[in-house]
Symmetry: C2
Subunit: 250 residues, 2 copies
């Protein structure tokens, strides 16, 4: 039978600008008696990647546009935060009441460009998403390889979605593992050829990892052990980002 094991990495310190996440995770996993091994998928919450990469914005340094001031005032939101949300976006997808759904510079569609007011560790500061989450994932994977383990890395975030209440964790950056697994051309047990099905396994890995993380505890990293993946050094999230020409909801 196919079997996976998923566990959180406990005992990580509060992450600060310049920290080596790979080494911290490597050491914390060993300390809890569950050292990383070849083949693991390491799922890292984007907010600690943002912190390690210095992706905090001091709101006192932000000069909001007239648009941000007007809309923020109307909906009782800090215009400086709105300004950061707009800067982090390349397009506003929906702006209805106090809700702002944007397409980020990376091409992800989410609320408020992924700008996080609650995790920055200080009032007057917000966290933005890593500039290039695939590159972040690659750096962590490369560093872990230097430390002796060949793993895949997924950088995850918590997104809402249309039509369904409740958020789920999804992937925003990958390294080593192809994000999509295609059944196209394969056959089901009845001999029918799959013509369309392609699964976003990295989103499923991110969702699975969230189950052991928990947002109120300080467990921003989880390990999925037992998932079969073929090392792919060129892997990126690009194949997951649907081109707007193929998109019915943008």
């Amino acid at each position: 039978m196919t079997r996976l094991e998923i566990f959180g990495v406990d005992g990580l310190p509060e992450i600060a600008d310049g920290d080596d996440i790979a080494e911290l995770v490597h050491d914390a996993a060993a300390r809890q008696g569950a050292p990383l091994v070849d083949g693991d998928v390491v799922v890292v919450t984007s907010k600690i990647v943002s912190k390690a990469e210095g992706c905090a914005v001091e709101l006192d340094d932000v000069d909001p546009s007239a648009f941000a001031v007007s809309w923020g005032t109307q909906w009782d939101k800090d215009p400086r935060v709105i300004e950061v949300v707009l800067r982090e976006s390349r397009r506003v997808v929906r702006q209805i009441g106090p809700v702002l759904i944007t397409e980020t510079r990376h091409g992800f569609v989410c609320a408020n460009s992924g700008v996080d007011q609650s995790s920055s560790g200080a009032e007057g500061r917000v966290l933005v998403l890593p500039a290039d989450p695939d590159a972040s994932a690659r750096r962590i994977r490369t560093r872990l390889a230097e430390l002796g383990v060949e793993v895949a890395v997924v950088v995850s975030d918590t997104f809402g979605r249309p039509w369904r209440e409740g958020q789920t964790d999804i992937a925003i950056g990958v390294a080593g593992i192809a994000p999509l697994y295609s059944y196209i051309g394969q056959h089901d047990p009845h001999g029918h050829e799959f013509r369309v099905q392609e699964l976003c396994v990295v989103d499923e890995l991110a969702a699975a990892a969230e189950l052991v993380k928990g947002n109120t505890s300080r467990v921003p990293v989880a390990v999925v052990r037992g998932h079969a993946w073929t090392p792919d050094d060129a892997a990126s999230m690009a194949p997951v980002i649907r081109d707007s020409s193929r998109d019915l909801f943008r």
Copy 2:
């Protein structure tokens, strides 16, 4: 550390109308040396639930409307299948080119009302989603309790989503486990109160389960072991289905 184990249930027979899925899963898990235990979450692919509940539609019995004939002919699709898709829907959300995104009678938004042409086991027949997936999940949970184990049950299906390529497994029916976990009112490690975050844990459980299922093998059931849940006999998918008044994409 928080730790989950996820494994597929091998050796299930081809499911037919009237089969007792609970008993088959219970016995197959025991046969593979991994009997179900109290607290497990059993994730069952909806297509075997549909088969056990006789949710197959013989296309020869379907009389397509003029609309279905016209649109099916235009896009080279079987008008009888289109007719079944429309019957299973209460609203067409998008109809662009050959793509039909509908809201099902249950309130789920997906391609083709979840009508499945490839898994029916016969040409000239399609499978539709279970009429009441929460009730299906409850029956399986109740029957497993009779067989001696107190488990939660999630009925899953494979859905696409806007903005992102690749499908993922999500929940369409639940029993015993509340679908949403709310952090609202709790505090993060910095003492900030969560004001909005609510996670759809049953979608994350469904996604995690997919990782061990695989659609080309015959593993339509997976077990998630180690997930903490509070038994809730009144649980249903209702809280997940976003009311259209709150929806920006319908």
